[in-house]
């Protein structure tokens, strides 16, 4: 039998989702062509894969973090290419999106090295060697607590230790449901973060309006392990509209800072959410379809309204605001919105609070790093319950750059505004 001589390693073998890992192969013959391959089976039982073509150096070594991939699902020197360039294996169902539901279990990856430069047939050919890596959303010691109080549904993630901790209200967009993984990751970085459910794909309460979000914010502030005046809001897509509404108008919820990812100031939450989605539905003619029948929603809010009643009055915001956008966002007109937000804040005199990050060729779903770029995926349109494939936009490499960079910036932004510097606060004490 042919002998396995290659020594394949991944380090760390267990890491957080936003941590880098090093994949190395040693003990190969020199100048040996090999393929590094990564395989993941999702909770939905779909298979995702990525691969890169390498050539061992004079010492018989391949280091993914340092060497160039000659081809595959990524090319060039890409430390984490085996993760962010993952895509469904040939023959998979259409419109898949990789999302973790059980955050208390890791994602398991099978990383293998094959002889030669392969682009297919990974299942049929035996690899030379394989290792397993685990990717976790929850650091050890993070507590996951189901929230069902005062009419609010969510999941609270609390870091280990006595606290108190800065808090974050974490909201996703129109896809709805209770999506926990980003909050789990924020808690792994020391923030008590609550993932909020506010749209139920089956049945959003017709009366859910701004009061729901203010209550959610209050629940976070009231938690004994949260510093009540150090709570921020993080929203993606429609969640940004919620965040901006609270920041601009709420007398009860005073966020210390706000992050809006791939969002807009359109659709202020001045009416029940269900009504707003109904209104979006009435603008259906503004939705386009591309040649693959994917739905492009970005024109829905274009042109940006001039009527102040149709957008959040961002001039009223009193806390630092970070906007994160991809300029290839096909779902919301986020770059146009960001421009208008900047103009409004300029006129109002609070523009110094605004930081905007716009990533070239990134799409709508800017998520924590090293997770695959999703250009289009299955979606149930809120008001009509129609199943479509929604185009999110973006190109894999550029989107990966956006995810990695923006996540660092978001964490720094939250740390800067939610964690006091001891030298700056004269009354600060331990």
């Amino acid at each position: 039998m042919a002998r396995t001589i290659a020594m394949l390693s991944v380090h760390p073998s267990r890491g957080l989702v936003d941590e880098k890992f090093r994949v190395e192969v040693e003990n190969l013959p020199p100048a040996c062509p090999v393929t590094l391959h990564c395989l993941h089976r999702s909770e939905d039982q779909d298979h995702w894969e990525a691969f890169g073509h390498y050539c061992s150096d004079h010492s018989g070594t391949v280091k993914v973090s340092e060497d160039e991939s000659f081809g595959g699902t990524y090319s060039g020197r890409e430390h984490m290419g085996l993760l962010w360039s993952m895509r469904p294996v040939p023959g998979s169902r259409r419109g898949l999106r990789l999302r973790k539901t059980r955050v208390d279990f890791p994602m398991t990856l099978l990383i293998s090295v094959y002889r030669g430069h392969l682009t297919a047939g990974f299942r049929e050919l035996p690899p030379v060697a394989s290792v397993v890596a685990e990717r976790w959303y929850m650091a050890p010691g993070v507590k996951r607590i189901a929230v069902e109080e005062r009419g609010v549904t969510g999941t609270f993630f609390i870091p280990p230790g006595p606290g108190p901790f800065p808090g974050v209200l974490d909201m996703w967009g129109g896809g709805g449901g209770l999506v926990e993984y980003r909050s789990a990751l924020l808690a792994s970085h020391g923030f008590a973060s609550m993932a909020l459910k506010y749209i139920d794909p089956g049945d959003t309460p017709t009366d859910m309006a701004m009061g729901y979000f203010e209550t959610a914010f209050q629940i976070i502030q009231d938690h004994p392990q949260v510093t009540s005046d150090r709570v921020g809001i993080l929203g993606l897509s429609f969640g940004t509209s919620v965040a901006l509404t609270l920041a601009a108008y709420s007398q009860i919820s005073r966020p210390r800072c706000c992050v809006g990812i791939s969002g807009s100031h359109a659709y202020p939450i001045n009416r029940p959410v269900a009504e707003l989605f109904g209104e979006m539905g009435m603008n259906e003619k503004k939705m386009k379809r591309d040649e693959e029948d994917n739905v492009i929603m970005r024109n829905l809010i274009l042109p940006i309204a001039t009527d102040p009643a149709k957008k959040v009055d961002v001039g009223r915001i009193e806390c630092p605001l970070l906007l994160v956008n991809g300029d290839d966002d096909q779902n919301w007109a986020t770059t146009e919105s960001a421009e208008d937000i900047a103009n409004m804040m300029s006129v109002a005199g609070n523009k110094h609070l605004l930081t905007t990050l716009t990533y070239p060729k990134a799409g709508h779903l800017i998520e924590p790093p090293f997770t695959p770029h999703i250009r289009a995926s299955n979606f149930i349109v809120q008001h009509s319950k129609e199943k479509v494939i929604m185009l999110w936009g973006g190109e894999p490499k550029a989107h990966a750059v956006a995810q990695e960079d923006s996540w660092k910036r978001i964490l720094n932004f939250l740390k800067e505004h939610l964690c006091i510097e001891p030298t700056l606060a004269p009354q600060a004490k331990l």
């Binding site: 042919a2 002998r3 396995t4 001589i5 290659a6 020594m7 760390p12 073998s13 267990r14 890491g15 957080l16 941590e19 003990n27 190969l28 013959p29 020199p30 040996c32 018989g60 398991t108 099978l110 035996p126 690899p127 030379v128 060697a129 394989s130 290792v131 397993v132 890596a133 685990e134 976790w136 650091a139 050890p140 010691g141 870091p159 280990p160 230790g161 006595p162 606290g163 108190p164 901790f165 792994s188 020391g190 502030q221 938690h223 004994p224 392990q225 949260v226 510093t227 009540s228 005046d229 150090r230 740390k415 964690c419 006091i420 001891p422 030298t423 606060a425 600060a428 004490k429 331990l430």
Partner: protein, 427 residues
Amino acid sequence: MMAGAVHPILSVCPSRALFTEKFRVLVENLPPGLSVTLHSLHCSEMKDYWEAFGHYVADNKGTVDVSQEASLGGTYTGKEPMGLLWSMIPVPGSKEHAVLFKVDVETPQEVLISVFQGHLSEGFRQKPPLASVVAERWSMAPGLKRIRVQEKEIEGILFIPPGPGPFPGVLDLWGYEVELTECRPAMLASQGFVAFVAKYVIPGRELKMDYFLRAFEFLQEHPLVISNRVGLIGLSQGAIVVLNMACRTEAISPRCCVSINGSHLLMEESSVTFWKKQFKMKEHTILRNEQNHVTMRGLTLPLPNEATINMENINCPLLLVVGEGDLNFPSAECAELMAKRMHTAGKEHLLTILSYPGAGHILHLPNSNLVRISRYRLPCFDQHEIMLWGGHPKPHAFAEEDSWDKILAFLKQHLYPDPQSDPDAAL
């Protein structure tokens, strides 16, 4: 919750790591110049609590980096990135002579790491910390298979790395204990070896040398093992056994052999009979101090040639690891005698000796705490005795870390075929 509280930021990176890997403990956002104590706490499977702590002062940026700065006091001093693990001691009030080791290798060891204000040496339970994080220490890399073996009269635990294989193999023998110690073979498998730890004591059976030789053959014949790439590693009694095996070149052909605090005593009978015989001959050499703690290192000295194995028969590279502070075995003396024998036989080129001042008998994996003393029963004793194993924490920790790196390098060098020079090796 109150407003205006400062948030010191404590992190341990990586938060999940293999037992042998290092981590970095970092505290940020402290007032500069603040005295703090870094503290670790672990509740073992035996429900004993273990702790370690170091005293630090935040620098002008308000940071304490345990990997870079010196501890000024506590259970360890100086620049010790892993001091919070290897210097662990039982918390006050613990039962006497508790020993810390991991039984279930499939679950991680959880360590609570905290930062306290001030330089504390006690009262950690009573005072709330400024911050805490949890580190998980794993014995098994992801994807490893752990298989209980009970076939052809061989009993033990087999650890198989993920992947198609085949892999080099290692027969791993621990010290004389009824229960198997699985951490080291699990860690070897995490490094790409098929590792098999064979049982020593099976009720109703006398396990003699041929049992271990058959265990070696079992490993060689495993479909996922490269049959001419199987090595041996043993500690204490296990070291005696592997050295005995290494010179049985008429029966087996180990590719290399690692002996940790062992000796080249000839063991023709079972371990039980062997130790009873030693004891009968030399009971007077066992020292007891005023607390009745036992030092056994004199038991096997002197070592006449006829009581030892034919070292001249050894054909494979041999690595001897010696703790010079060993109170249980005369490891250093035996290593010297073994070196002389190898030299006389013209085989000194096969031999490497690593000798560590201040290290004791139980040289375990890196980041393990020192087992200097414990309750123990050899078959030659009627009851449990309090055994002294020797060693001092800091040099022992260094020996564990340094020897592990060298043992791994040794095993990889001799068990993984080099594609550049090995005609058998093929991709």
